[in-house]
Amino acid sequence: MSGGLLINWRIAKSVQSGFGDPLLLYKGVNMRKLATIIFFLWGINALLCASHLFTVSDVPWDDGKALQIEWKVPADTIYLQKADSLGAWTTIYAGSQSSYRDTDLNPDLVYNYRLLVPRPAFQDSMAFMAKAKPREQWFYLHKLSYLLILLAVSLAVLYYVHGARRGKDYFIRRISGLDSMDEAIGRATEKGKPILFVPGISDLDDIQTIASLTILSHLAQKAAEYDTALIVPCRFSMVLSASREVVKEAYLKAGKPDSYREDRIFYLTDDQFGYVAGIDGIMVREQPAANFFLGSFYAESLILAETGFSTGAIQTSGTAQASQLPFFVVSCDYTLIGEELFAASAYLSRDPQQLGSLKGHDFGKLLVIVFIILGVIMEIAGWHGFKAFFEGAAQ
C-alpha cells in the first residue's frame, strides 16, 4: 500500500561531484564503479528510509474515502502536495504537524502524494513520494460499542416483549399527563366544545410524530365515544394522511364510523409560523376546551401554549425536544417530559407487549447508569480505555 522514493537531485549531484572526475582511477580501483555502487547503496538506503519517513495508507474499517498520510521528518514546516487527475501538484497541507488525513476520496482510485521538506541552508527542498488506494471495508470498527449497546437494548426489549406474551404482568408508574386525558375530554364534552390535537411540527420521519399519532388514536376513540368534536390541523401532507387513517380507525373501533368527519383533520401549510398562525386562529375562534400539543416542537411551542392558555383551555403537552420543555412546563397544565411521550402508547393501551418493551427501555436506563458510574470510576483511576471505547462511536 505504501511506497516511498527519495528524489533529491541536489544530493545526488553532490554525491557525483564529490567523487570527482567520472573516470578517475585510484590505485587500480575504478572510482566510477565505486561511485556507482555507493550511489546505488545509498539509493536503496534512501528508499528504505523514505518508505519509513513518508507513508500513505488506507484508513482501516471505513467506507474507502480516506487515506492516512504520515511523515517523520525533522522540519518546522513541510508542504504536502497531491496530484490531481492531470498530474499537477497542489498543496493540501502546510505546517508543522506530522500526519494528515485526506478525506472525501473515491474508493479504489490511486492517489499520489508528494512531501516537500524545505532546507533553508541549501535553499532547496527534499521531496518524498508515495501513493495509495483507499478501500471500502465491511465493518466500521469504531462503531462496535454502538452496535453492542443497540443490541443490548434491543434484546432486552425483545426479551420483555416475549415475557409479556407469555402472560407476565409489568408494573408502570403513574404518568399524570396521561391520567388527565379523560378529564380533559370530559370537560370538553360538558362544555360542548371541541378538542384540538396538534401532532407537532415534524414530518413522519420523526418518531415523536409517530408516538403522537399513537396517542391520537386513543384520544380519537374516547372523543368518538363521548361524541366530542376533534380538530387536527397538520403541517405535512404525510402526517395528514396518517392522521386521517388513525382517526378513522378509532371512530370505527368506537362503533361510530358515521361521526367521523374528514374535514376536521386538515392541512394548513408546510410553513412553521404559517402553521402556528393558523392554529392560533383556530384556538381563538373555535375556543376548544382541551388542547393537546404532542410531538416534536420548536420555537413555536410557547406561542401555542400561551395562546391556548388565554382561551382558557385545559392544556396537555409533550415533547422530547429538551429545549422546548421549559415553555410547556410553564404554561400547560400537564406536560409529558421526554421519554414519557414514548411511554404513552404503552401506558394508555396497557397492551402487555408494549408494556414489555417499556420494561426494555428501563433495562437500557439501568445499563446507562451502570456505564456512567463505571466510566467515572475508570476515569478517576486513570484508565481511559473504557471511555475511549464508547467515544469511538461518537466520531
Partner: protein, 211 residues
C-alpha cells in the same frame, strides 16, 4: 424609492402591525393576515419543493439520463401511490409508501439517536470530577454526574417509587426544574432580539425615527 418598493414597504408594515394586533385580541386584521400567511406560505413551499427538490433530484435526472436513473422510478411510483389517496376507494394504496417511509425513519432514528444522544452523552458524562482546576469546577463536575444519573433514573417507569428509590428520582426532578428555569432565562435574550428586529424595521425602515 420606486412605487413598488414603497408599496412593498407599506405592505410589510401592514402585515407586521396586523400580526401584533393579535396580542390585544383576535380581529379582522389578524384574520386577514393569518389567511394570507397560510396561503402564501403553502404556495411558497410548494414552489420551493418543486424547484429545489423535485427538479434537480428527480425530473432533471430522469430527463437527462433516463436509463441511468431508473432506480428513481421507485420513489416516483411511491409518490404517485400517495396521491392515489385522492380517490376515496383506493386510499389503502397509500399505506405502502407510508409503511416504507416509516420503516426507514424508524431505522434511521434508531441508529442516529443511539449514536448522538445515547452513546455520545454517556461518554461525555464519563469524566474525572477531580480534573477541574478549581473547587467550583469539581463541584460542578459532581453535579453533572449526579444530575445525569438521577435524571435518567427519574424516567424509570417500571418500579414503584417508594422508600429509598424516591431519593434519586426526587433529585432528578430538582435537576430538571433547575434546567427548565435556566433554559427559560437563557432564551429571554434571543426572544427579545426578535422583537428588537421587528421594531427596528418599524422605527428605522418605515418611520425613520432611528438611524
Amino acid at each position: 424609492m420606486s412605487f413598488f418598493a414603497t408599496f412593498g414597504l407599506w405592505m410589510a408594515v401592514f402585515f407586521t402591525l396586523s400580526i401584533f394586533s393579535f396580542l390585544y385580541k383576535d380581529n379582522p386584521f389578524y384574520k386577514f393576515a393569518e389567511q394570507v400567511f397560510v396561503g402564501l406560505s403553502a404556495a411558497y413551499w410548494l414552489v420551493y419543493l418543486f424547484y429545489s427538490i423535485m427538479l434537480p433530484n428527480l425530473f432533471n435526472k430522469l430527463l437527462s439520463d433516463f436509463s441511468g436513473n431508473l432506480i428513481l422510478l421507485v420513489p416516483a411510483a411511491l409518490g404517485l401511490m400517495m396521491l392515489i389517496r385522492l380517490i376515496p376507494k383506493a386510499q389503502w394504496v397509500s399505506r405502502y409508501p407510508i409503511a416504507i417511509l416509516i420503516g426507514t425513519s424508524a431505522g434511521i432514528n434508531m441508529v442516529r439517536y443511539a449514536k448522538s444522544d445515547l452513546l455520545s452523552q454517556i461518554s461525555a458524562t464519563m469524566i474525572n470530577p477531580f480534573s477541574a482546576s478549581n473547587l467550583s469546577g469539581i463541584i460542578g463536575n459532581f453535579l453533572l454526574i449526579i444530575g445525569t444519573v438521577c435524571g435518567v433514573y427519574f424516567f424509570y417507569f417500571s418500579k414503584k417509587q417508594d422508600g429509598f428509590s424516591t431519593v434519586p428520582s426526587k433529585l432528578g426532578i430538582w435537576f430538571l426544574m433547575v434546567s427548565f428555569g435556566a433554559s427559560f432565562g437563557y432564551t429571554v435574550m434571543a426572544r427579545i432580539s426578535l422583537l428588537i428586529g421587528r421594531l427596528e424595521f418599524l422605527l428605522k425602515d418605515w418611520l425613520h425615527i432611528i438611524k
